[in-house]
Amino acid sequence: MNLENDLKRALRRESPPAGFAGRVLEQAKSGAAGSQPAGSRRRAESSPFHWWRAAAASVMLAAVLGGYALHEVAERRRGERAREQVLRAMSIASEKVRYAQQQVREIGSH
């Protein structure tokens, strides 16, 4: 017995069931972008459809950044208004203190 010859015979190539190539091709065609050949994927990436998607993404980003900037401005104005109110309250209070001191001085001089 020649084992090597027997192995060559036992391991000879066999064809897959009929229609194999067609089934693979159908799966390849129906697959998502992930199963496209690399060449056609590169072409798809430079198609106008992708430019629209990039443009839409840019508009969204601009809207988000614009909204953030408006929010920042409103916050700053609110802060300034609060500061003005505090300063005015302090000025009124110090005026009242001054008036009270003056009254005390006048009473003392009588």
Partner: protein, 180 residues
């Protein structure tokens, strides 16, 4: 992955057209290599259903990677390497043994001839070998590759490949003797 020297595709090769997305050219590639890929998986698992699934997966992976295939020689190397790795990975992930009913029927019919019976015994014994020995034996005797070619596919030193081959043949001889 071991590098293959860039070569131009053979005249009349469907590879350049397939790389541009031509489905007919890709179908030609499948038809040229389907028996090799399917048989490698079949001889590894001794299971026709699993062999067909693996062959489908390998060709779908090829479809996604056509842009990286440089030549017909590279394509052949790539298919052998990816099929071998997939078979070994699947064996390591789940050590399942399935025999489909249609295989059993086919084998019973084949047993009428002594060569077919010996073939069946050999394939069953190969299935019991450690995964790397199975891969080496399939590449040696199905694909008729010598150890210096096999070592690039399985990414092992050539002496390790020779050693696996030697041990596999010893094991097969011993077990064939036990079955007689």
């Amino acid at each position: 992955m071991t590098a293959i020297a860039p070569e131009t595709a053979d005249a009349g090769s469907p590879l350049p057209q397939a790389r541009l997305g031509d489905h007919d050219a890709f179908a030609q590639i499948i038809e040229r290599h389907e028996a090799m890929v399917y048989s490698m998986a079949y001889h590894f698992f001794n299971d026709r259903g699993r062999a067909e699934e693996i062959a489908q997966d390998v060709f779908l992976q090829l479809y996604r990677n056509l842009g990286a295939i440089e030549s017909d020689a590279h394509l052949l190397f790539w298919l052998r390497q990816v099929t071998t790795r997939r078979c070994i990975d699947l064996t390591r992930r789940a050590r399942l043994k399935a025999v489909r009913l249609e295989d059993v029927g086919e084998l019973r019919a084949a047993e009428k001839r002594s060569d077919a019976l010996l073939d069946r015994r050999l394939r069953a014994l190969i299935e019991e070998l450690p995964d790397i020995q199975r891969a080496v034996v399939t590449l040696r005797y199905q694909e008729d590759l010598d150890p210096s070619e096999i070592c690039r596919i399985v990414d092992l030193p050539v002496n390790t490949v020779k050693s696996h081959l030697h041990r596999a043949l010893q094991s097969l001889r011993r077990r064939l003797g036990e079955h007689r």
